[in-house]
Symmetry: D2
Subunit: 309 residues, 4 copies
């Protein structure tokens, strides 16, 4: 399906449920997708960081994406992360995504290697030309270790290479400047924030939507927040964001002395989704460290505090 221009609203980066044996649990993918669509989300983003894309084999990625496309059944667009180190490898991922029926692609700058704005531009242009689907740039310096230069995004928005930006840089000041400079240049370009704690501010600033990892846990909350902002009811938007910010503390459930931030946050999203009955099993992929019982209890307490349990 063609995606709306600009793509807007709540597009959760869907977690990838696994079985206890570590396989993709396609039944839970479908159940979760159904739940999210029922909550009113405006799209699904598969195979992003919250989807554990860095932890999944190519075969697992394909399985998860196919299940989501099938579950979405054209009701909302499905964006597919095509996360790999450089162009040729991303093109392999893009071919899989096209085959699985994705509606748009989401790619980062090259990583692992050292890169340069000229190379990043060439990278996105080659992907756009080869894959034939709308392309979103994924700005996630915590993973990629470069920040997409604002001038580069403006250039690739202006010439049609990019359909949009998923900004997970956390740099809302730079995002504001981008929004101000972008509007006269590329009004159909979609700016989506991945900063799930400042969505009210981002929407006030003119962002088109949000890609919140926490949306796996409380999609209704983000939809309410988005609708309030659309209606100009900023007091409601703020209150909803405050509630979600308090809920977000569940990502700290794991002990930082025992595990990495990914283990804690992705483990918490999955534990919460299981406690809410959205998926069958909270297992995360190796080598992440599983949350222990005390950590899961902390997740449960946050869900209760937010009125979700």
């Amino acid at each position: 399906m063609p995606i709306p221009t600009p793509l807007h609203g709540v597009i959760p980066p869907v977690i990838t449920p696994l079985t206890p044996a570590g396989d993709v649990d396609t039944g839970s993918v479908r159940r979760l997708a159904e739940h999210l669509i029922g909550a009113g989300v405006h799209g699904l983003f598969l195979l992003g960081s919250s989807g554990e894309t860095a932890y999944l084999t190519d075969a697992q990625r394909l399985t998860a994406l196919e299940a989501a496309v099938d579950a979405a059944a054209g009701r909302v667009p499905v964006l597919a992360g095509v996360i790999d180190t450089t162009t040729a490898r991303v093109l392999d991922r893009a071919a899989d995504a096209v085959r699985a029926g994705a509606d748009a692609l989401v790619a980062t700058a090259p990583f692992y290697t050292r890169t340069h704005p000229v190379e990043i531009a060439g990278h996105f242009r080659r992907i756009r030309e080869a894959a034939g689907l709308p392309l979103f740039a994924y700005d996630i310096p915590v993973a990629v270790h470069t920040k997409l230069p604002r001038d580069l995004v403006l250039e690739l928005a202006g010439d049609g290479t990019l359909a949009g930006l998923k900004d997970s840089s956390g740099d809302d000041g730079s995002l504001r400047r981008l929004l101000v400079e972008l509007r006269p240049l590329a009004p159909d370009f979609s700016v989506l924030t991945g900063s799930e704690l400042t969505v009210d501010g981002a929407l006030l600033a003119g962002a088109d939507g949000v890609v919140p990892g926490l949306g796996n846990v409380d999609a209704h909350g983000y939809v309410r927040l988005y609708e309030a902002a659309r209606a100009g009811d900023w007091a409601t938007a703020r209150a909803e964001q405050d509630r979600l910010a308090a809920l977000f503390a569940l990502t700290d459930a794991g002990d930082p002395g025992l595990m990495g931030a990914s283990s804690s946050a992705l483990g918490a999203f999955k534990a919460a989704a299981r406690l809410l009955g959205l998926i069958d099993c909270a297992a995360t992929a190796a080598p992440q460290v599983p949350l222990d019982e005390a950590a899961v209890a902390r997740v449960r307490a946050r869900l209760t505090g937010a009125g979700l349990l």
Copy 2:
């Protein structure tokens, strides 16, 4: 004078005008202070990053601070940066600031050396005890190369060590979590954002005020933005912020191949203030590279575009 609790509103980080010979131009300090107070700002922050504090000798710092305190004449509180590497050196700066009549102090975590949260806490506690003035923590990782941990700020807010926070981290997501956790704990604690491009969002999120470097150039704009936000008129606040975000592009006036970010941004603030007649001379302190004529022309164009010239 006792500062309001919480301190709120627009508190510009005042630039330090210099003469062509490099001395502090106290006449321009006074004229600028008078202008800012006339524009309705709620306080003055001397000797911050925008004040070139890292470039001024102790004697120059004292001169600039005394002039500002004298010019403010108790109409608005004067906060003084006491920026130095570690505790004993900060205490020397604090003694100067007390002597000059500052109403509150603003200190960073230790820098140059490698530090630890336990040491940062001890650092702020010693400064608070020794100096006898309200103390604000200055979170500016781009300079200090550590980010103040949220738990540490909560602890020092709760026990009264800190009267407030100037958050120049640019991490508005972390700021949101702090605000949500802080309110029930320390309602009089003042949270000021130094992120001058996301002030509407920060005020929506519950921040008490803003410390905008660009406020040296357009104090009226920030006061209008603040007042609109206070009144719940978010459409006006957003429009004002958009205008200021466009104006902020003047900080890119210098060629990044020829100078550092400080030379460009501080040079542009000073060039703008001179073009607006607020100070006599746009010189910045060594070893910053002066803006050339083309750069100053770019600054002028931005002022014109924002309706200031």
Copy 3:
């Protein structure tokens, strides 16, 4: 073939020659491998950073590795990089490497995602168990953005998980401490430096060998350096290293304003290998920027200066 314990000597990280169309040029792989073995190297490391592994598809990686294994024909061991973001993906790469006939595997810590020492340990243990080949840890913070903790390497050396370390961290101080602590614990553990400019010092410190990207260009030089060090002739070793350090300046051939460090260094290695007749075509993989004629002339001048042309 079983690898020597400890693996020692000169093990170049072999570049991956491409055709003008971008395919792996297996003829040039073989010719280069033959040249390197003839120069006296002690092993070949395929699919490392110098091998453009981050730029090659899985199919290309397999093609290059198979050609090298075939060319080596058991005369020297072939190590294969299995570079991917996390465990399951690395295991897919490892299965390919085993199939191609590699003698040992070289893996990094997880990247793209945020990780933790406990997870890194689990990562290496799972790879070692599943792949059934000797495993080398590849410490390359410039790519992976974490440094392998010394205690972790000691633990995994002591329990047999790791057969060795390729240290491309550039942190020779930490390497010295590792060497001092490692010897009584795991005398067969192989420590290979990837810091091609400090090989004399590393060998003096007790390293077993070197994995020099520049060894693609001057394998004889590194073999002479290694042999001099083995013989305790440090004056000769130093002079050879000085000559190689001067030659290394060819990696700066590209204009840093126009391309990234990878484009410049890998482009220069390939340009040099072509000028020396070791491969047919100097093309690098997308999105790297090709060296222009002036840059290739700079490479040629360095080769001449080092007595290679």
Copy 4:
């Protein structure tokens, strides 16, 4: 006194002994200086990182420097750190150092602020011109957060701005390239490594000397290492370096969960110096965390293991 050209040998960065009340213990400064000179060091570097310069007030710095100059009595040159954020502040420190009788100055690039190579060059040139003493550049990215570009050092060595470099970057590969390029250009330029774990390799590479923090604890060891290297006896140099590398583990005495790296390393140097009877009191300056008894016992064990107790 004029310093040798190039300055060479062992120049310890002298710790600054404090009394229990936190004052500079000039008696211990003198005793330690006497001990170091007796051990055969070739110079004293006061007010470097090991000297806790970031923790001392200007008055304390002056006191410590005057005591050391007086104790040295012209037998070895005294270098003085003039560590501050930018040019004007460094010039104040330099005036103090000149007044105290220092023989040379050691300055870093600007820090706290963001800088640029053009500004760094201007910074060193202004200091050199104003202070009238030989000037050493102090490359310490862990504190300053920029690395001195090699081209910049070459330029400032070639034009006589700098008399030498203290390289505490830990980047021995870059150091090697510098040494190779520097020799024909500025044969009298002094290159001193601050990487106390790779001194044998640095001397093999052609460095002129070493500035080892651990030299406060085992000056005789570093002098033996230096003399062996001068004599071309690399086996002895290596063995001495290995012994010193094992001793260096005392810097890990403090619990990293309870304190920063500075507290642990500087606390350990001082604890060791006190255990060896070189200073009266092991106190470090606020806000560093003191070593507890268990940590001091670990220091004692390392001294015993190295044959110093």
